[in-house]
C-alpha cells in the first residue's frame, strides 16, 4: 500500500516534468521557456523524490537533503542563464509588453 502511494506521487512528479518539457517546446522565447522549465521541473523532481521517500522510508533523510539542494540551486541556475541571455541581447518575443531592464541599461550605461 505504501509503495503504491509512493508510486502515485512519483507519477504526479513525472507529469509535472512532462509538462515542463512541453513548455520548452511551446513557449516562444528563452525567458518564457526558462519559466516553464524551472517551475515545473522543481516541483516535478520534489514530488518524484518524495514518492521514493514514501516507498522507501529508510532513505527519507538523504532524499530530504537532495530536496534542499534542488530548492537552493534550481532558481540560481535559471537566474544565471536568463541573466546571461539578456546581457547577450537575446530578443524577447514579440508579445512582450515591456522591458524595464533594457530601458535602464540604455539610460544609465551599466546601471547603478
Amino acid at each position: 500500500m505504501i509503495a503504491f502511494i509512493g508510486s502515485l506521487i512519483c507519477l504526479a512528479g513525472s507529469v509535472f516534468l512532462l509538462l515542463g518539457a512541453l513548455g520548452l517546446l511551446r513557449m516562444p522565447d528563452v525567458y518564457n521557456r526558462m519559466q516553464a522549465g524551472t517551475k515545473a521541473t522543481t516541483l516535478g523532481s520534489l514530488l518524484t523524490l518524495l514518492g521514493i521517500g514514501i516507498a522507501q522510508p529508510a532513505w527519507l533523510l538523504k532524499l530530504l537533503i537532495l530536496v534542499i539542494f534542488i530548492l537552493l540551486t534550481n532558481p540560481i541556475s535559471s537566474n544565471v542563464l536568463v541573466r546571461a541571455a539578456h546581457f547577450k541581447g537575446v530578443k524577447l518575443t514579440e508579445k512582450t509588453v515591456r522591458d524595464n531592464l533594457k530601458d535602464d541599461q540604455e539610460k544609465g550605461g551599466d546601471g547603478d
Binding site: L22, Y31, L64, L72, G111
Partner: protein, 164 residues
C-alpha cells in the same frame, strides 16, 4: 560577534549534513566535527552571509511560516505553468518589470530573488542594489510600486522579520 555567529552557524549546518548522510556512529561524529570545523574555517569569509540570520524567537517562528507559504506558492506556480502550457491559445503576456525591495541584508535578498523565481509566473533576471528586475509571464502592471506590491510584498513581510 557577527563572525563567530556565522562561523558557528555554518559549522552546525555542515555537521548536520554530515550526520544526516553518515549516521551517528561515534567515529563518524568525531570525523564530521573536525571536517566541519576545518571547512567552515577555510571558507569563513563566504560564511559571513549566514550571520545575517536573526536568532530571536520571533524570527525563528517565522521560518516555518515562510516555508509553508513558499511551498504553497511553488505548487500554485507549477499548476499555473501547466495551465498555460496546455491551453491551445498559449495565454502569455510577458514583460520585464522593475520592483524595489526593503530588505537590507544580502542573504535576505538572495532568498527573496530565489523565491520569486519559484512562484507563479515570475522569474528574477537581474538584481541591482535594492532593485530587482523580474520577468513576468503575465504582466499586469508596469509601475514599480504596483508591481512591488503584487510580486514582492507577500514574501518580504516574512523575510524582513527573519533577516532584516
Amino acid at each position: 560577534m557577527q563572525r563567530i555567529k556565522s562561523f558557528v552557524l555554518g559549522m552546525l549546518v555542515l555537521f548536520a549534513l554530515w550526520v544526516a548522510i553518515a549516521g551517528t556512529d561515534r567515529d563518524e561524529l568525531v570525523a564530521g566535527f573536525l571536517i566541519a570545523l576545518l571547512i567552515s574555517w577555510i571558507f569563513r569569509r563566504n560564511f559571513e552571509l549566514l550571520g545575517e540570520l536573526r536568532l530571536n524567537p520571533q524570527a525563528l517562528l517565522r521560518i516555518p511560516v515562510y516555508l509553508a507559504l513558499f511551498l504553497r506558492e511553488l505548487v500554485k506556480s507549477s499548476l499555473d505553468v501547466a495551465r498555460r502550457v496546455l491551453s491551445p491559445s498559449l495565454p502569455i503576456n510577458p514583460g520585464i518589470v522593475k520592483v524595489r525591495t526593503k530588505l537590507q541584508s544580502k542573504l535576505g535578498r538572495i532568498i527573496l530573488a530565489n523565491s520569486i523565481t519559484l512562484t507563479p509566473g515570475t522569474m528574477t533576471v537581474e538584481t541591482r542594489g535594492e532593485y530587482l528586475y523580474i520577468h513576468w509571464i503575465d504582466t499586469q502592471c508596469e509601475d514599480v510600486e504596483a508591481a512591488t506590491r503584487s510580486i514582492v510584498h507577500c514574501f518580504e513581510q516574512h523575510l524582513e522579520v527573519i533577516f532584516g
